[in-house]
Every structure is written in structure tokens, then in C-alpha cells.
Symmetry: C2
Subunit: 252 residues, 2 copies
């Protein structure tokens, strides 16, 4: 009944996973339904989670993610840790371009946005810090996919590619070519593939092991400036972050 019962821990984590940006506060009943658990079971697990501070209880009895969990999770090297190191470079990039700047990492088959700085005059974008998005159509996603393990690439290429605009690349063959070009040139340009008015220019960030661990991008209004003019500054910022992370080949 409900969902296949995992171990207690997995069940508890499913409860945490029941929260979403649209519904950051849930009642016990909603929580139980979303996690596919009997109400009584959910009640017991939720009590445990709340006693530690992973969940908090609102005045009107609803539950929400607790500060303690946020605090602990802020130690994630690929989350806040990465953000802290990259922030100065991102801010410089934001100052120089006056556009939206983004920092993202790959998790499974998605892009996860770690930081986003909204430019003064910049166009609104769909992304949210902590949010997910498919890799293929985004600038940062192209960079991350191009440098992902072969099996990840194959899995993405095997599935149907979601279409967002009439310029979204949906042909696996074209995407494969594009990825090869991204590897060759060291930058990715997504031209109106997500929304019809946005172009993004992205570059890879390297970690201490010399592998690509993140990507940054600048998102501009289509037609404002030739995207290629942004390549040097994006690349420079990415190199700066890589150096701060301790990339071996950049050290000196």
C-alpha cells in the first residue's frame, strides 16, 4: 500500500523530500500523503525529525523545514561552500556586465542552481537558488553535460529532449555535435533555447582533481550584445573560481 516501504531512514528522508518550492509548509496529513506513508507512521517519524530540528512546527500546526537542517546543509561543499568561494567572482561579473549571473552544479541528470545574482537591468529568468532544470537547453547545463561521465551523457541522449522554444535542440545528433564543440572551445552558448528572449554564455569551473565541478553563466537579452563578446569575461571569472578551488593546472 502507499509506496514501497524503504528503510526507516529513507522514509524519513522521503518526508523531507515532500516539501517543494510551491509548498514549503505542509500539514501532517499532506506530509503523509505525499511521502506515501500511513498517517500514524508519518506522525512518529515527523516527531523524531522535529525533535532534532530538521522540521519545525508553525503556529497553526503546519510543518516546515527547520533551521537546524538548513544550518547543517549549509556545510555542503557543493552548496554553500562553493557559493562562498565563487561569490566575489560572480559579483565582479555581475558588476561588469549588469546582467544575470548564475552558478550551477550537476546532480544526476539535472542542473542545480547554487547561486544567482540578478542584474540591475537584466531580464527575469526562471531559475531559483536550489532549483533544478534539465541540462540540455541551458548554458551551464551544456557545459556540465559536455564534461559529465559518458554514461550520464548517454542516458540524457537516450531520453526524449524536452522542448521549451522553437529553437530548443531536440535532435540527439545535433546535441552530440554541440557537446563536442563545447569541449573543444571551452564555452557553451545557449541561444534562446529556454526562453525566446534569453541567451546564455557559460564556462566550466574546475576542481582540485582537474575535473569540471561547476559552471557559471551570464544570461543576456537576445540581441543586446553579440554573445561572443562576453566569452572572455565569463571565461576569466570561471578561471578565477577554479584557481580558488585549487585546480592543479592553474596553480602557480
Amino acid at each position: 500500500m502507499g509506496a514501497q516501504t524503504g528503510s526507516v531512514i529513507v522514509r524519513a528522508l522521503r518526508l523531507l523530500g515532500a516539501f517543494s518550492p510551491e509548498q514549503p509548509e505542509l500539514t501532517l496529513t499532506e506530509l503523509a500523503r505525499r511521502a506515501g506513508l500511513p498517517l500514524t507512521t508519518a506522525h512518529r517519524l515527523v516527531s523524531d525529525l522535529a525533535s532534532w530540528g530538521a522540521l519545525e512546527r508553525d503556529g497553526d500546526g503546519r510543518y516546515r523545514i527547520g533551521l537546524r537542517l538548513w544550518e547543517t546543509a549549509s556545510l555542503a561543499p557543493r552548496g554553500l561552500g562553493l557559493r562562498e568561494l565563487a561569490l566575489p567572482f560572480l559579483e565582479d561579473l555581475s558588476q561588469v556586465t549588469q546582467e544575470n549571473v548564475q552558478l550551477a552544479v550537476r546532480d544526476a541528470l539535472d542542473v542545480v542552481y547554487v547561486e544567482r545574482i540578478a542584474g540591475r537591468t537584466a531580464i527575469p529568468v526562471l531559475t531559483r537558488v536550489g532549483g533544478r532544470f534539465p541540462m540540455p537547453p541551458t548554458g551551464v547545463g551544456l557545459v556540465l553535460l559536455a564534461h559529465a561521465p559518458a554514461e550520464v551523457q548517454e542516458e540524457v541522449l537516450a531520453a526524449p529532449l524536452a522542448r521549451f522554444t522553437d529553437r530548443t535542440i531536440v535532435s540527439p545528433r545535433l546535441l552530440r555535435q554541440l557537446l563536442a564543440e563545447v569541449r573543444r572551445t571551452g564555452v557553451a552558448i545557449s541561444d534562446r533555447q529556454v526562453t525566446i528572449d534569453a541567451v546564455s554564455v557559460a564556462a566550466p569551473v574546475y576542481g582540485p582533481a582537474g575535473t569540471v565541478v561547476a559552471a557559471i553563466s551570464v544570461v543576456v537579452h537576445a540581441g543586446d550584445v553579440p554573445p561572443t563578446t562576453l566569452v572572455p569575461v565569463v571565461r576569466a571569472a570561471a578561471r578565477g573560481i577554479s584557481r580558488t578551488l585549487g585546480t592543479p593546472t592553474l596553480r602557480r
Copy 2:
């Protein structure tokens, strides 16, 4: 043996709590020791946590907080949620003053910093996003303590007050007076109580229920400007955030 056992979930959460800013990556053995669990037990629980993405495994076998947990925790209303709403006001404050700006909430008997913007010319401060600090000596802490439930205040006043500088208030009687003044004036000024060269000016942020849910502060070098000149701008920013949160008395 080790620590009092507790339920499985609490044990698993203790494993997450074993990470610290100084040690964001731990081996299985370190994790087990810190959480006070037998190695075998830790091994099993950690596997469950990792399978969901709450923990990730490094190349060399160490564990760290996983991106999935960070992503989920970013839904905490008192964490990233609050930060997102407050950020524009904090940035304005930072632009105007060119000093360090901080946003914090109370958790149990501590201040937890939710955001910190470093000013261009500002002095370095001890705080870190996601970090904890005792309430009494800090500006934000004074605000939060002054508006905390009576039992929280009593608990803080009953314990010995930690001394940081020779201006740190360690007398419960003086602190009590100061808290009353904070409630009366609506702002708190911590004058060289944390470090000998820093003064902070703080104001309360109100939530939808009309209670104090957070505090913001500006930290300046002692002697640079009279702290009182900063009061209006800090208060204005705090009111702006309160309004965005939907404080009833400010609505219009």
C-alpha cells in the same frame, strides 16, 4: 555504549550533525566516533543517507553533506526563504553604508546568521552564513533576545554570560536593563562587546503574526561614525523587510 541510543532517525541526524565548518568532510570512522555510534551501525545508516543523496562520497572515500540535502534544506522558510525576501533591502543597506550587513534569526539560545554581506571597506567580522553565536553580546542577538519568550530570556540570564572583550556585559542585571531599553527604543546597539573594534546597530524584523522573527544589523568600525546616525537607515530596511513578509500593522 558510546552515546544514549535514541531512535534510528535521531541517530541518523546525529551523523549529519557530526559535520562542522572546520570538518566538512569526514571518513566513516570519524563519523561513527563523532556521532557516538558503533562503526557497523554508522556504516549502515550512512549507506541509507547516501543512497538518498543526503550524503555524498568523495573520490577518496570521505563523506560530505550531499547536494540533495542542501537543495531540500534551501526550502526552510527561516533560511533561504527569508534570505531571498530580505536580500534586496540588505543590498540597499550595504550600498548606502558600505559596511557589513547581517541578517539573523534565533534558534534556541543562539543567534544563527542567515546572510551576511561584506562591505567594500568594512572590517572583518567573525560571523559566517549558517553560523551560530551567543545572543547577549551581539546587536542582532540583543534584538532577538529582547523579543524572545520570557522563559528563553530567563534561561539566558540564569547562565553565566560569556566575556569576549572588556566591554562585554556580563551582569544579568545590566543586561536586563539593556533588553528593556531595546524593547522601548526598537533598536539595539552593541558597542565593542564582541570585538574591541566593532560596533553594531540592529533592528527587529516582524513576521505576519506581528512577532519578531529576525533581526538585521550593520557592523561598523568603532569611532568611524556615531552609531546613532545609522539608526534610521537600519530601521527603515527592517521595516521594508517586515512589510515584504506581510506584517499586519505595516500593511497598507
